[in-house]
Symmetry: C2
């Protein structure tokens, strides 16, 4: 094992996963570590041991290494609850970070708070850091940032601030519909059919009120007309995205949209928007996360 | 125990429940029996023993008692698969009943087939019997029959036939969304708030594309604005119904709608339609089922 020491450590600790990066003096990534010990699986006193197990090799015993963490780790059911910032606001405010007290004196853990909106009520934890990272790289950006995921966020960014946003739980719906309803019998595969996906997007967008019927049709079509499993899965994905793009159209019609998400999801959102006449560009999720945590680190420790 | 003997036996055997009625010479119900041994919990060879346990006391050992059964008992995973009738068609065709062979010679079990539609693909099993029952009582009816449930059916009935229909899996969505997504934390109660339900109907109807966002809002509102659990549950129910009523509007706008379902669901559908300017009347689910099975019995055994 290489004996590397981190200047500081970046951590993205979500509901189901934890990812950590060792960063050097020059801001370069020295090492990466990950775990599926997400917030939902941990009691409050388990966060520190899990973190230490993942980053221990990166610590210099003679000094304190800062850890900058974002995500659901700062939720009520997480390590320490960090009070939300309220829109409109900068995505990260260095004066509002919360320190998670540790027994181990070699680390100082700073949690980035989430952002809430009062009316209509909405919340995010983690995406604010990616938005901060994107803004750091594009300081003059005014427009829409879309962060697809379990709970996709459409965010209106203006003059370095989060103006307002809207969450669609499309990813979570895809999960429960494909695993927990009768449709599961019709989409047993993990395959993909691009044309079916695109048909689904258009159908969902054109007539979102039919969604509960279009979903049942996946089952009927597989029984009556032998619809294959890959097509059914792709139509399902397209339908749900199409319904979302109908509801989110004020966010993307004639707007400058940046998509920050996993490669697969970003590709689907870009394709969906394109079919409907929208324009978008993608930005790396990892780069956004690291850049956001870096800006928090620099602001906090450069004084 | 009273020693009653049935002239024939009616059975509604669905996915999760089995209900049976002993009928006398005059067509009156002598006794009722039910079980939660639905189709999904039974292997093929378990249907006969379950049926016998429920109806044995009603059998006359000296003759054969007919059993008329409808529902998922006739599905591929049921007792015997009954081939679907194809739209347009009468809801029950006595020449298309399927006999389920039994070891016990005291009964003759006749299964009512479901109905399928080729384009757009759709299927029903059980509702055709309720439609047949309603038509028997209202032979000159032309209009829409709505059968709310796990998989709600909107059925266009004309001259005694099922012309076409559309299924919305709204009930199943309500189940998985309220039990298997993050919303479950916000709707722990079984309570009800009528005003919230009505708000939900209007919201879902007016902007169905926002459904995945409106659902997430239930969680955000409970965190940010202390939305109470009864209201959240009622809004959820209203939202999903509103989206369905948007998609189904060709079925109910300026139409004569008959609703056949459980008392609670029928009331919600009637209220939802009324808010949106639709008109409807309800018809008893049990009366429809019994009347449908009775008409099948009479046609089959009166010759």
């Amino acid at each position: 094992m290489i004996d590397l020491k981190a200047k500081w450590i970046a951590a993205d600790w979500g509901t189901t996963h934890m990812r950590a990066w060792a960063i050097d003096e020059q801001g370069e990534v020295l090492a990466y570590s990950e775990s599926n010990e997400g917030m939902k699986d941990l009691q409050q006193n388990e966060f520190e041991p899990v973190l230490l197990r993942l980053i221990e090799n990166w610590l210099d015993n003679k000094k304190i290494t800062p850890v900058m963490a974002c995500g659901m780790v700062g939720a009520r059911q997480g390590w320490v609850e960090t009070p939300y910032l309220k829109t409109p606001c900068v995505p990260i405010d260095k004066t509002q970070l919360t320190v998670a007290t540790t027994k181990d004196t070699r680390i100082q853990v700073n949690l980035v708070p989430g952002v809430m909106q009062h009316k209509p009520a909405d919340i995010m934890r983690g995406e604010e850091t990616q938005i901060a990272g994107f803004i750091k790289e594009n300081p003059s950006f005014n427009g829409i940032v879309c962060l697809p995921g379990t709970h996709t966020k459409w965010v209106n960014v203006k003059a370095g601030q989060i103006e307002n946003f809207r969450t669609f739980m499309t990813g979570e719906l895809f999960g429960v519909i494909s695993n927990k309803t009768l449709i599961k019998h019709s989409i047993k595969s993990d395959g993909w059919d691009q044309a079916s996906f695109e048909d689904g997007v258009i159908k969902g967008f054109d007539n979102p009120g039919l969604i509960a019927s279009d979903l049942f049709s996946l089952r009927s079509e597989s029984i009556v007309n032998d619809l294959d499993s890959n097509s059914a899965r792709s139509i399902l994905s397209g339908l749900l995205l199409g319904v979302e793009l109908n509801g989110a159209k004020n966010y993307w019609k004639n707007k400058n949209v940046i998509i920050i998400g996993s490669e697969l999801l970003s590709k689907n959102y870009q394709k969906g928007l394109k079919i409907l006449g929208g324009e978008s560009h993608s930005f790396s999720l990892e780069a956004a996360t690291l850049s956001g945590l870096t800006s928090a680190y620099i602001e906090l420790y450069s004084e």
